[in-house]
Amino acid sequence: MTTYAFLLDLGRCIGCQACVAACKTGNELSPGVQYIHISEQTRGVFPALQSSIKNHRCYHCADAACVAVCPTGALYKEDGLTRLDASQCSGCAYCVDACPFNVPQLVNGRSNKCDGCAEVVKAGGQPWCVKTCPSNALMYGERETIMAEAHRRAEALRVRYPHAQVYGETQLGGLGVVMVLPDQPEQLDLPANPQIPAVLNTWQNVVQPASVGLLGFSLAFTGLAAIIARRNHKQEVAHLHVQNSAEETAAVQPDHANET
């Protein structure tokens, strides 16, 4: 089976947000919802400054914590990417808490994140974000090709930035978004060695096998979910806050903007 991946070249990325806008229109995302977040990262003191663009999105981990905790199979791996079938989502939000990169969000009570433009690529197209990126900072293709391109680009980048490197070759079993970094990951707000939260190992070993049988699934689900829910109570309040403000924005959007 072919494994696909994205290339995200943070050397080239200039923060123009074309990818954000293309993703939002192509996927008809509700007001307040974005799958990509662009922000600036600045280090140093005037005039000795360094700055780069943070390009936050689902990195499609091979060992995906979100998939590991998802009790319904709404999140699953396919072609090397982490897909989301929102129709299967129960809204438990375990993925929200489990993702080491803080990616999935609940929207309309269902998990919501980049699914790698599954429908578009299956129809033979390029993901919306990739198709539009004016800086050619994004690519999509077979993982091997992407990996080779990432190494080629990182090598070329080292002329300018000695610490330029490829990120995502091994992290979390290999990311489906292979990044070319102009600097060390820590400098760019990325963990050098991202880890799946330890508690999730239990989760994966106990709950997932159990979920094959519906009865066992429900029992285990109830107990463990309650624990996780308590642990994350504070975080939940924060999420609620974000969503409420998104709701206010939504109220003034045009009729055509999506609704469900």
């Binding site: 806008a21 509700s30 600045t42 609940l106 009570g109 198709k131 004016p134 109830t222 609704e259 469900t260």
Partner: protein, 764 residues
């Protein structure tokens, strides 16, 4: 209106666990078609699977760059625009604003029907009328004005990609020389006039930088990536990744400065000193293309003598840059010549001395041997196509705009039917160039040199683009008649007597986009859907007005398709044929010297690049640029700088739902240490007051190391006072409202706007 309901369901997790248990059984039979699963669960099909996709060709109207696009609609609803791969500008990609094209169309705040004013001017009270009423009324008012004061008494201001119909076609057929575009005197006039004075060619709409092979890129104030012109971002990224060296001169650490090999955080207003020092190094150290300079320039000796005193040490004092950096960057350019150039920026109306600064830039490019060389600055060529065969116009146009064609300025200004030339003070207050929009405001107030009594404003955000908006309001109060043609109820629309609601670019045919380029090309615009509401395209409006004003000979064509096909016939094409070539016709260019077979490509008097300008000398100007200090901020004030955000264009897109969501308000970039000294924290809201007491705000402070401490910066176009714009109204601060003054460039008529100062007011 259905609204998005966001809710968290963890509270009901028991219930949802049961639901999901049921859902699990569905997912186990994974062969279910997506549509069925979605429908069962109340989710939507992706738009591209809801029906047959209709594809139409267009060029993007979200900024003046006009990338070619393909528009995808299903059942009369536009869902997506993508770059047209056949288009030399977009090459299949688009910026964020382009992606928001559909969002602009479906902005619920759009003007929906023609309106006639019922309240006082500026009050914003209107009644909706039929098109016939609005057109009859407007035609009557124009007729009365024309009869009493001559057609020249009607001024026409136009911007955005339909401006041709009002600002060019209608204005010239009607007979007013007072047609202006902000893209000239509020933006590019200095660079255009400097280019024509120095080497005889304009820059034109598409800066002719030969990005494919350039090895040293110098940007002065250009903030590529924040200024999100699509092609330039593409070209820059490719050149940069290829290893081209980048020098960025900017008081602010812009996103592109972060990618530069050298960032020169220059003291604002001193750029010409830096340029003179660069010239000094290139000449003194004999680091210029000697053969090229000998063959293709005049005046090197005079220039060498002129710049001899302007050493890097001299400039270091003025610019606040180390002399060594100045020297090193000059050498870096020279090391890469002729694949090195200072990129002609776009908005260059800064300090009123701007034509001279631009001339200094072009002189450096000439010493580097960049013009007509691969990897330097290529020669643009306009595509061949005939104009529509209309009768001669009543007056020759001089509105310019960023699509200016090559050509020499004639010595005499064109006269209108009653013998009056432009009222903007060309030839008296400034030397040359396109009609200066801001200089047409005083005649509306004073009646000098002659009265301007009526104004048609098409797509210009009048009060958020022309400096000294206080003065513009005074003019609006004095005019006999104001027609506003717009898609949105912009701030100035409240001051109109009649409002024509326009169909957006994605809902209409339009004039062809004829682009001077390395590969000259023509792009078409056709509607993807019928115009929403009771809106109409500009071509229809001017035609209906023309028929009511006795201008039938100019409007023998009945539809835009007929007009366009008549033009396309001159190159053996048609709209249908264009569709077969993906909506674009690309022709052969003449980018390099080799293409001129020994002839001079420079249409100057000498046939060469004129380092020393006889033309300027004989008009009483400095024949070579000098450094003139600009006024310093008074104690307690900062120089007000402004620029772009990648998701916004001018004062046009702040209300576009998608773009508003991505960047709803502008921020005040303030040096972090300076903020600390003033007791201001990051994220705090403040007001700004300028040197004349004008106020704007509140605006959120972005306390950052990325800007010098003597200037503040904000993204242009915010702080609009337009209650009908439900999202943009009152968001952020307006740089324009803080520009109560400007410095007129005596050569090009450009309005230098970086001469305003602000102080921070913490509480009002």
């Amino acid at each position: 209106m259905a609204r998005t309901k966001l809710q968290i369901s963890r509270r009901n997790f028991l219930k949802s666990s049961l639901l999901s248990a049921a859902a699990l059984s569905i997912s186990s039979c994974s062969a279910q078609p997506l549509a069925t699963v979605l429908n069962q669960n109340g989710l939507r099909l992706p738009w591209f699977r809801t029906g047959e996709i209709k594809t139409t060709y267009n060029y993007c109207d979200m900024c003046p760059w006009r990338c070619g696009i393909v528009v995808k609609s299903v059942d009369g609803q536009i869902y997506k625009v993508d770059g047209n791969p056949a288009d030399p500008k977009s090459r299949g990609m688009l910026c964020a604003r382009g992606q928001a094209g559909p969002s602009f169309v479906y902005d619920p705040d759009r003007l929906r029907a023609p309106m006639i004013r019922t309240g006082a001017r500026g009050e914003g009270k209107f009644k909706e009328v039929t098109w016939a009423e609005a057109l009859d009324y407007t035609a009557e008012k124009l007729k009365i004005t024309g009869q009493a004061f001559g057609p020249e008494a009607v001024a026409v201001f136009g911007h955005t990609s339909g401006d041709f119909w009002f600002t060019d076609y209608f204005a010239q057929a009607w007979g007013t020389p007072n047609a202006a575009k902000p893209s000239s005197s509020l933006c590019t006039s200095p660079r255009e006039e400097a280019a024509k004075l120095t080497y005889g060619l304009p820059i034109g709409g598409h800066e002719p930088v030969d990005w494919d092979a350039i090895n040293c890129i110098v940007l002065i104030g250009s903030h590529i990536g924040e200024d999100a012109r699509n092609t330039v971002m593409q070209d820059f990224a490719n050149a940069w990744a290829r290893g081209a060296k980048v020098i960025v001169v900017d008081p602010r650490f812009s996103n592109v400065a972060a990618k530069a090999d050298y960032w020169l955080p220059i003291k604002p207003g001193t750029d010409t000193a830096l340029l003179l020092a660069w010239l000094n190094v290139l000449i003194n150290e004999e680091r210029y293309d000697k053969a090229y300079v000998a063959d293709w320039t005049t005046g090197l000796e005079a220039l060498a003598a002129h710049v001899a005193p302007f050493t890097p040490e001299w400039a270091a004092e003025i610019t606040d840059l180390p002399a060594e950096s100045i020297r090193a960057t000059a050498r870096l350019m020279a090391d890469n010549l002729p694949q090195a150039a200072i990129i002609p920026g776009r908005h260059v109306t800064w300090y009123g001395n701007d034509t001279q600064r631009m001339r200094a830039i072009y002189m450096i490019n000439a010493l580097l041997g960049a013009y007509g060389r691969e990897g330097g600055i290529y020669f643009s060529k306009s595509p061949y196509i005939e104009a529509y065969p209309h009768p001669p116009f009543a007056v020759t146009g001089s509105s310019g705009g960023c699509s200016a064609e090559p050509g020499q300025e004639s010595a005499e200004l064109p006269l209108g039917p009653t013998g009056k030339a432009r009222a903007d003070g060309a030839r008296t207050n400034f030397l040359r160039g396109a009609t200066a929009m801001q200089e047409l405001i005083p005649p509306m107030i004073s009646g000098e040199p002659y009265p301007i009594k009526a104004l048609i404003v098409y797509g210009v955000n009048l009060l958020n683009s022309i400096p000294n908006p206080q003065r513009t309001i005074e003019a609006l109060k004095k005019l006999d008649f104001v027609l506003a043609v717009d898609v949105l109820p912009q701030e100035h629309v409240a001051w109109a007597d009649v409002v024509f609601p326009e169909a957006t670019a994605l809902e209409r045919y339009d004039e062809l986009w004829v682009v001077a380029h390395k590969t000259p090309y023509i792009a078409m615009r056709e509607p993807a859907i019928e115009p929403l509401y009771d809106t109409k395209p500009a071509w229809w409006m001017v035609r209906e007005l023309g028929l009511r004003l006795g201008m039938e000979p100019y409007f023998r064509w009945e539809t835009a398709e007929e007009y366009l096909d008549a033009r396309l016939l001159s190159i053996g094409s048609s709209l249908d044929k264009m569709r077969q070539t993906n909506g674009v016709i690309v022709q052969q260019g003449k980018p390099y010297f080799e293409d001129f077979a020994g002839e001079s490509p420079f249409p100057t008097a000498s046939g060469k690049i004129e380092l020393y300008s006889d033309e300027l000398a004989s008009a009483g100007f400095e024949p070579m640029p000098t450094y003139e200090p600009v006024a310093e901020p008074p104690a307690g004030y900062f120089r007000l700088l402004y620029g772009r955000h990648p998701v916004h264009t001018f004062a046009k897109t702040q209300n576009t739902p998608l773009l508003n969501e991505l960047y709803p308000e502008n921020e005040l970039w303030l040096n972090e240490d300076e903020a600390g000294r003033q007791g201001i924290t990051n994220g705090q809201y403040v007001w700004l007051e300028n040197q004349d007491g004008a106020r704007s705000g509140p605006i959120k402070v972005k306390a950052t190391q990325r800007i010098r401490s003597d200037a503040v910066y904000m993204v242009h176009g915010f702080g609009q006072n337009a209650p009908e714009l439900s999202r943009a109204n009152g968001q952020g601060a307006s740089d324009t409202k803080l520009q109560t003054t400007y410095a007129l460039d005596p050569i090009s008529g450009g309005a230098g706007m970086r001469v305003n100062f602000v102080r921070i007011v913490k509480e009002v």
